[in-house]
């Protein structure tokens, strides 16, 4: 038996329904057909409106081997399989006011008007799907059989919160590396400096070396859960001149902080950054790749 919580309301309780038998099996099959849609239950869009559907196993009636975690979220707006996830979520929402989806509840999980409202919210949601590599698993425990240990990594996503960085006591003293690491040092942190191995030249290899010395890992080189928060960072370089970092957020876009200027989620052309690889970022023309930050790295940077 599956319990589905449609996460959408702020004041009212969220609609909850129970799914059993063939219905549950169909949901499992749909999710397993695109396992990238599975995220940790607390991952994804955290604002007002439709935020996804949390699915929980309440019993073992669905015959193994299914590969899904015991609790997970779909359609939170942060995976590479949002279209498939929304199709599953829409079906669940559409059935909230019908039996047998909520067969054992005295009342339907939601009335027809509420279902219509939720479907409208889903249709009008304009989340930007992040350009995450499929092998990055957002938060929580990865379903072991859907991802292999050397190709998938759990990461954390935090909401875009420029106010913290744009405080006059913070903004001038923290740079893009601070922002991407999500760690304020008030020192304009330099890759490698905290490890006694500051990068010496402005080239992809050298800046990457400094970040690795601080404790970053290259993409696909996973950190254990104990190293959370494990943020996905992207490095670019203006060859011979400077470097720049981005960090992906739970809203699906990327944020950054150019030097001592304010933190933002837009590029040089004023567009929301969906991909650090393709955004307007001249003169930082070299895209160096993705790295993971971690708790140890946060505390080491200087």
């Amino acid at each position: 038996m599956l319990r589905a919580t449609v996460d959408a309301f702020s004041g009212r309780p969220n609609p909850v329904c129970l799914i059993t038998g063939d219905e549950a099996m169909e949901v499992v099959q749909a999710v397993q057909a695109a396992p990238e849609m599975v995220t940790a239950p607390d991952a994804g869009y955290g604002g007002l409106g439709f935020r996804g559907v949390v699915l929980e196993w309440l019993s073992d009636e669905v015959t193994p081997p299914h590969t899904l975690p015991s609790v997970f979220r779909i359609a939170g707006g942060v995976t590479t399989a949002e279209a498939e996830a929304c199709a599953v979520a829409e079906r669940l929402v559409a059935g909230l006011d019908k039996a047998p989806l909520a067969f054992d509840l005295k009342e339907p999980a939601a009335d027809t008007a509420t279902v219509a409202l939720l479907l409208e919210w889903m249709a009008s949601r304009s989340l930007v799907v992040p350009d995450l590599p499929k092998e990055d698993f957002v938060g929580g425990d990865a379903p072991a059989s859907t991802v292999s240990a050397d190709k998938a990594c759990s990461i954390e996503l935090s909401p875009f919160n420029p106010g913290f960085w744009n405080d006059p006591a913070v903004r001038p003293y923290n740079n893009c590396y601070n922002y991407a690491s999500n760690w304020r040092t008030d020192t304009f942190a330099q890759p490698g400096k905290g490890a006694g191995s500051q990068c010496q030249s402005m080239a992809c290899g050298e800046v990457t070396r400094g970040a690795l010395a601080d404790g970053c890992h290259r993409r696909y080189d996973c950190f254990p859960d104990a190293e959370a928060p494990r943020y996905l960072m992207a490095l670019v370089v203006a060859p011979g001149v400077d470097y720049h970092w981005y960090r992906v957020h739970s809203e699906g876009f990327w944020g950054h902080k150019p030097g001592s200027t304010p933190a933002k989620n837009t590029d040089n052309a004023g567009n929301v950054i969906n991909s650090p690889e393709t955004c307007a970022r001249a003169p930082y023309t070299d895209f160096c790749g993705y790295l993971y930050g971690c708790k140890t790295q946060q505390r080491r940077i200087r």
Partner: protein
């Protein structure tokens, strides 16, 4: 523009208030590395103050560019409000700050030329290109 270089008290005149020490100049161009910055000599600061005094006020400049790349020069008179000099405008580096016109980007060119002694030749040429002063 009214700029004063030798006093710490001019709040009611609207003049840029400075100290007798040298003015600090920052080439605002980097994201990761600290921006190149240096302190003008007293004579250089006097020269800059004189140039600033000759500027005419202008309409508020458009929003300051705060993206990647060249963002101008930040001049910080010791004890006075900062000034951002970029693309023909001089504006107080604070919300609602006043703006003056820098004809032919004269002051900007002067300061970038002075940066030649502070940064590597490659970086200086790069900054000139980024600033559109080639």
């Amino acid at each position: 523009m009214a700029a004063r270089h030798n006093s710490a008290a001019s709040g009611e005149t609207g003049e840029v208030e400075t100290d007798r020490g040298g003015w600090r100049v920052e080439l605002d161009v980097f994201s990761g590395r600290p921006n190149p910055a240096w302190t003008l000599t007293h004579a250089e600061s006097e020269e800059l103050a004189a140039l600033l005094q000759g500027l005419a006020a202008s309409d508020p400049s458009p929003a300051v560019y705060e993206g990647l790349g060249y963002r101008g020069l930040l001049v910080r008179p010791l004890g006075g409000p900062g000034l951002r000099i970029v693309r023909g405008a001089v504006r107080e580096d604070l919300e609602g700050g006043r703006t003056w016109h820098d004809p032919d980007r004269h002051i900007e060119r002067l300061l970038i030329e002075k940066a030649r002694a502070q940064v590597t030749p490659d970086l200086h040429e790069w900054a000139r290109r980024e600033a559109g002063l080639d």
